[in-house]
Structures are given as C-alpha cells and as structure tokens.
Symmetry: C2
C-alpha cells in the first residue's frame, strides 16, 4: 500500500475500486424525506427500491447495502424522522433478486436476536434466488428497544454480544457446508437423489447454540455468501479480521482511515489470511453537482430541511442513545457518560468533532445530519474522484460504501457523474468481472471445511 | 349449505370456488423428480417457481401455497426423495412478488421455532412488496429433527405447541396493529413524519413471549395478511375456528370432508365469527388428461417411478415419523403405536385406508405416493370438475388446494383443462375480483383492534 497517484505499480494499475450503494429509504440526510424530489413513502415502496437497485446495477456497483434495526426508536423527535416503517431487509433483497441480474444484494441481520439455522438458510436461499449475489452484514444489537421485542429486559453486554456473534458465525458457516458441492446427484435412472456420503451433520453444541443440522439448502452458489462486518471495537475488529470478507467503516478523514485499514489487514494476516481477502470499504457521503456551486446548493437545500427535533434525535441516537432534547441548542455539546451501546467509536468520533470545531449542539447535529460521521465530499465529479482515488491509493480503502444524501436522485447523480470519471481514470470497472458477488469483489469461493 | 347441483340458490350462483396451487418443488408424487419432463433441481431453481407462479396467475388461482420444514428428514430412503434442498419460503415468496401481479403468496412459517416480531415483520413486509397478496400458513412443529436445529433436545408437546401458537398469533396480530392505517402523515411542510397519537405500543407479556413493539412496518396493506391453518386435532380446530381465514385440510372422501367443514363453520360461529369468513379448502390430487385413458397413463407412468425405499420413507414420515424399513413389503401394515407428532389424524386416516382395503405395505405406499391421503381424482376435466362441484355444492369445500402430481406440467394441465371447464360451469372467476388476496378470497379487511 505504498504506491502513489504518480507512480502506479502494476497492482494499482489493475486493482479497481469496489462500490456499494448504501440505501436508506429516503437517503442519508435526516431531512431528505421532506425534499420535493423524494418519495416520502420510500421505506415501503418497492418501485423505489427497484429503481435504486437498477440504477446501481447500470452504474456497475458491486452491491446494494441495507442496514437494519429490529425495533422502532421512540422518544422526542422520533416522529420527525423517516425511520419507523421500512421493508424487512431479507424479503426486500429477495424481491430485488428477481429484478436485477448482476448486482450484489447485501443486507443486515443481527446475531443477537436470531437463530443461526434461519439465517444460514435464508442467505443460502437468497444466494440461489440471485445466482450467487447474496451478502450478509453481520451485526450485534445494542439497543434496549430491540431486546424488549425478543423477550429480554436488557440487551446483551458488549463482550457477550461478540462471543455470541462469533459462535453464531461458526454455526452458520458450518451449516453452509452441510452438503458438498456435488452432493445432489439427482440420478433419475437409479433413483438416487443425493449421495449420503457427501452430507455432513454439524452437531454443534456450544455456549450459546446447539444446532444439529444439516441445512435444508444445498451448499450456496458462492460456497458462502459474502460476509460484511462493521465493528470498530477490539472485539469487533478481531471478529472481522478473522471472518469478514468486507469491512464497512466510518472515518471522516484520511489518517484515521489509513490506521484502521492497516490494522485490519495486519490482523487478517495474523489470522493466516491473505490481507487482500478482506476488502475495506469506508462510507463516503457524496453531494455531487455539475459544478461546485451546483453541489453546494444541493447540500444547502437539504441542510435547510433539518427540523431541530429530528436533528437532535439523530445526534442523540448516533452518540449512544442519549436523549438530548433538554439541552440548549446554542451551547456546546454536554459532557455525556461513556455509552454502553455499540456506538462507542461513533461517540468518540462525534465528541472530538464537537470539541475540535468548538461546535454548539445545533452546529454538531447540522454537521452530521447527512454524513453521520462518514467522510463528506461536496463538489464536482472530479473533486469526488480525487478524494476516492487518494483514499484508494494511499492505503485507506479498497472501495467505498456510497451514502447518497437523498434518493433516488443522489444515486443517479453518482451514477451519471462520478462513475464515468472513475472509469476514465481506470479506477473502476467498465463491465462486471463475473456472475457472483465474490467474482466482482475479487474474492475466492471458499472451500468447504470438509474438503 | 343445503343447495344442490340441480337447484342453485342465489348464494351458490354467485359463490365461486377458491383455488390454491400447492407447490412442492418437483410435484406431489414421490417419484415425480425422476420423470423426464420434470427439472430435478426444482427446489432451488427460481425460473421453475417463476413459471409455476405465472401459470397459476394466468389461470386466476387465488394463491400459490408452499409448505415447509426446518430440518432435513434423514434415515433410510431419504436420499431417494427430493426433499432435502429447497428455497426458504419467505425469501421465495418475496422474489415471486416481483414477477407476479395478482396472485396470493401463501407460505408456511412455524410458531415453534420463530420469534413473533420477525414473523409479523416479514409478512407485513411481504404484504407491502406484493401490494397486499401475503398469506401466512401458521403451523406448529412436531419433528425432533426440527427441534434439534434450535437448541432443543425434544420438540414441544402437543398441548404446549398449540398454547404457544395461540399466544404467537396474538402477538403477531397485535404487532400488525402497531400503527393505525393513517398513522404515517409524512407532511413535508411541517416535518411531521408520523402522528404519535396513532402509534400503539403492544407491551405484551405472556407465558411464552414478551414483546414490547411497535413493529417497524406500517399496518399491512390487507390490515392483516391472510392466515391459513391446517390443524385437525381438537386444539388445531379450535385455533383455526377462532383465528384462521383459510383452513387447509386432507380428506379422501366426501362424507368426512363434510363433517369437517360443518364442524369448523360451527365452531367459527360459536366464536362469534361469520362462518363465511373462514374458507375451507381441502387438498385435491388431480391427474387430468384429455381423455380418461390419457389421465390413467399419466398416473401409471408416475406410479412406475416409485423407488420402494422412497415410498416407504414417505409413508413412514406421513404416518408419524416411523422407520418402516425393516418390515416386509408384501405383508399388511404393522401395528404402530399412536404417534406423538402432529401427524395423528393422518396416521388414523392411513391406518383405516390400509385396513379397509386390506392393503400390504407396498400397496399402501403406492396408494399414497401421489395424493398423500388427499382426495385423488384421475380423469378428464369433466370428471375433475364434477368432483370439485360436488364437494363445493354439498358443503365440503369453499375451494381447493390443488396438488399436482408433477411440475410444471401438472399445473399447466390443470390451468389449460380444468379451469376452463370450471369457468364454463360458472364455478370459477374469469377475472380477479380485486387487488389483494383478501379481495379475491372474499374476506373483509380486518379493523385494527384499536379502532
């Protein structure tokens, strides 16, 4: 990762940027749903998602990516935010598989309140529905509002969440190997449907799960659907370095992104993995225009749509589920206790953003109302491509998860303006490399553990 | 239900047969996968399912229907049966929602090894994806092989399964009412996304579940997705009569089907429901040909494909998960203990079938290799329509769940031969009545419990 823009090595000459389209129903800006160009009912509007997925596919994105919560966040200002009604991600991705042909379909499912058998099965099913385009964003859940939807008074403590997640992944990946790739012989003449020698019963018994198997789906098209993770804590980084194919992360500037990139690659190597088999994809919030002034106006127009209660609700949630509604808007960010949620790294990031910039509460929520702590780029396609090229070539990113301010127009802008610029620079594909998500990401198809 | 074929009342003149297409990947006959016209990889072949759903929609079926298990049944002969690799039903139905426009999408999810929040959410999501065409076949699980995939050494006892199922349905239907139909105001000018007065937090605490809510999906398009049940036991009938919109059932002959029909309708009335709001749809195994001889040949051709081990495995499972592989094929059915599984009524049915017909083990599995205990009709479209008309007009059925011997051809035969005959007799629709599954089934959209 020592190559520079001026002296591309052969590796950088052939290496290409990977792109995910991170879809939030109306877009990432907290006020986007109020914009006249945005369908306010996007969360449960399949035509909208179909258009987004097809736009991303036309622009040759590797994948669309959808986050998730298994609860509605209530509290002051929640009724001002477009965040209470949206498709369940696996059903959405399955539907999108039928109206797309090439693009990866990556969605979030929590390990905290699910059963490994269901998760292994549903992603294997999605992998077959899509011909090898499924991806699982593996998360743990830290919100009390989620725990109480699943019979728990409290969410799991941080360490237990990760311990459970690790065992969960072990079981899921074991179930995906239930059948050898050639187990289903389906010999019509002999009447032999599968070869029992090529069936493996998992019989897992662990601290959190006891699962016999086998899975009732053949080994997935990709061997294993792509696994995405976004942990930033020590436990999160360790799990990602050991098991993830893609790491999604948030860094507002190059230097910390480089540190993170180096750390994950080093950890992967220590686990005996090829560092190139873990793709690091930071988020990037892109407001792009035909001119710098055009981009600036788009940005400002959305900033005008921030309802203070909504901005404060967003900030309170991102900084660790605190209710900030009592605090004066034009005073500095109050001193908050260390959050017990998974938002600890985001809390540190936002706290230092506020401190370094000497920001009031209002200024802080205004600052993060779109980018949410991710790298923010506002300008022409050249400006955006410059930043992406720098991060890509300076050891901060293998690709990017693109956050559009509003949808569908933000994604269309990116497709029409930024993608051609990246292609012109030789940084992005001009056609899909293969038929599966792994093919396009440049990831090998894993061998079964039983080979 | 006293009208006859000769003297239709006004009610029977307007009343129409409802039709479900019960899809098993390769068809219902245990040897179907070996037939040259059947794609043997159907279970994980989306093109196959797309064709089936579109054929059923072209023929104006109310719904496609998919059963489920959350385990692979192992044991002697299992490797001869096409029953180990198939799509997870919810992801399959979500994908089908994108390639169909009118037909209902009904799939099975067990209450034994799921969380009500996930189930409420996924069916609500499917209801939005499909514009109001979702249906849930609510079952309980009785197989030990299923229990051990979910951390249990044993399956739940019968009574506990139903107690759990009842509470499960209470929670799911409560979550579907989390939001009033007009809760999402999405006022761009004021910044009000939803009206908090129209939000209802469930706060359910019961014996089996503790679920706070609200659901993170708006109230479903149909108010509640259609609920299908197939219980035959006392507990199963009581739950169905109280909560089901559609009851699926298996009867080989008219008289017991009439008894069942009358019983469920009476029970529904005792629960204060309009008996017409519960649709009874027995299964019917249809082998139809252009001539009686053509149908007979189709039937026989499949009968030739029964591999003895496969036939015995099917019979053993249907009669209550017994391993029959040790018994001589040309002796009578051995005396078996009363099954502890949910197959108790099927066990009684098959046992009396064997006894009444003085059947050997081989004759018994041959007899049920296609119809599996359901009503079997082999003949021309007129013959099939005669039986359906009789059952429909003589108080045995509001419609039928059609079991095709092999797929896709069996469904195409039904669509091309039987449907026109039913239409000619005025017994079946010539266009869809409405846009939702409830509309087509003639079921009201339920009011929220909070109205």
């Amino acid at each position: 990762m020592t190559s520079s823009i001026d002296s591309p090595t052969e590796k950088t000459a052939t290496r290409k940027i990977k792109l995910g389209a991170f879809l939030i129903p109306t877009g990432h800006h907290v006020g986007a749903w109020r914009h006249p160009d945005v369908p306010a009912d996007s969360g449960l509007n399949f035509s909208h998602y179909k258009q987004l997925a097809q736009t991303a596919e036309r622009a040759l994105f590797d994948a669309v990516f959808v986050a998730d919560n298994v609860a509605v966040t209530l509290g002051k200002g929640a009724d001002k935010v477009a965040r209470a009604d949206y498709f369940e991600p696996l059903t959405l991705m399955a539907a999108l598989s039928a109206v797309t042909e090439h693009i990866g379909l990556v969605c979030t499912q929590t390990t905290s309140f699910n059963e490994p058998y269901h998760i292994a099965r549903k992603f294997a099913s999605l992998d077959y529905l899509s011909g090898g385009r499924a991806g699982w964003n593996l998360v743990t859940s830290d919100a009390a509002a989620e725990a109480t939807n699943f019979g728990r008074a409290e969410h799991f403590a941080h360490a237990e969440r990760y311990e459970r997640a690790e065992e969960f992944f072990e079981v899921v990946s074991g179930l995906w190997d239930s059948w050898d790739d050639d187990a289903f012989v389906r010999n019509k003449a002999s009447g032999q449907y599968y070869d029992p020698q090529k069936l493996h019963v998992l019989n897992h018994t662990g601290k959190h799960f006891s699962v016999s198997g086998p899975l009732n789906v053949a080994r997935p098209v990709q061997g294993r659907p792509v696994t995405v993770q976004a942990g930033s804590s020590e436990a999160g980084r360790a799990l990602a370095a050991r098991t993830a194919d893609v790491v999604f992360t948030a860094h507002p500037a190059l230097a910390p992104a480089q540190d993170f990139y180096r750390d994950i690659k080093n950890r992967a190597a220590q686990f005996g993995r090829d560092p190139d088999s873990v793709k690091i994809m930071p988020g990037i919030y892109v407001v792009v225009g035909k001119t710098a002034e055009d981009a600036r106006q788009k940005f400002e127009q959305l900033q005008q749509l921030i309802e203070p209660e909504a901005g404060l609700a967003l900030l309170g949630r991102m900084i660790g589920n605190f209710d900030l509604s009592g605090y004066p808007l034009d005073e500095p960010l109050p001193q908050l206790p260390l959050t017990e949620t998974g938002q600890r790294s985001r809390q540190a990031l936002l706290t230092s953003l506020a401190k370094d910039g000497n920001l009031t509460l209002r200024q802080l929520y205004t600052r993060i109302a779109g980018g949410r702590g991710h790298n923010v780029v506002i300008g022409t396609a050249e400006t955006v491509a410059d930043v992406m090229q720098e991060w890509f070539e300076q050891g901060a990113a293998d690709g990017f998860n693109v956050l559009s301010p509003m949808l569908p127009s933000g994604l269309t802008d990116f497709a029409d303006l930024v993608v051609p610029e990246l292609q012109k620079r030789g940084l992005f594909r001009t056609e899909y490399e293969g038929s599966t998500l792994r093919d396009n990401l440049g990831l090998n198809r894993p061998e079964s553990r039983y080979r």
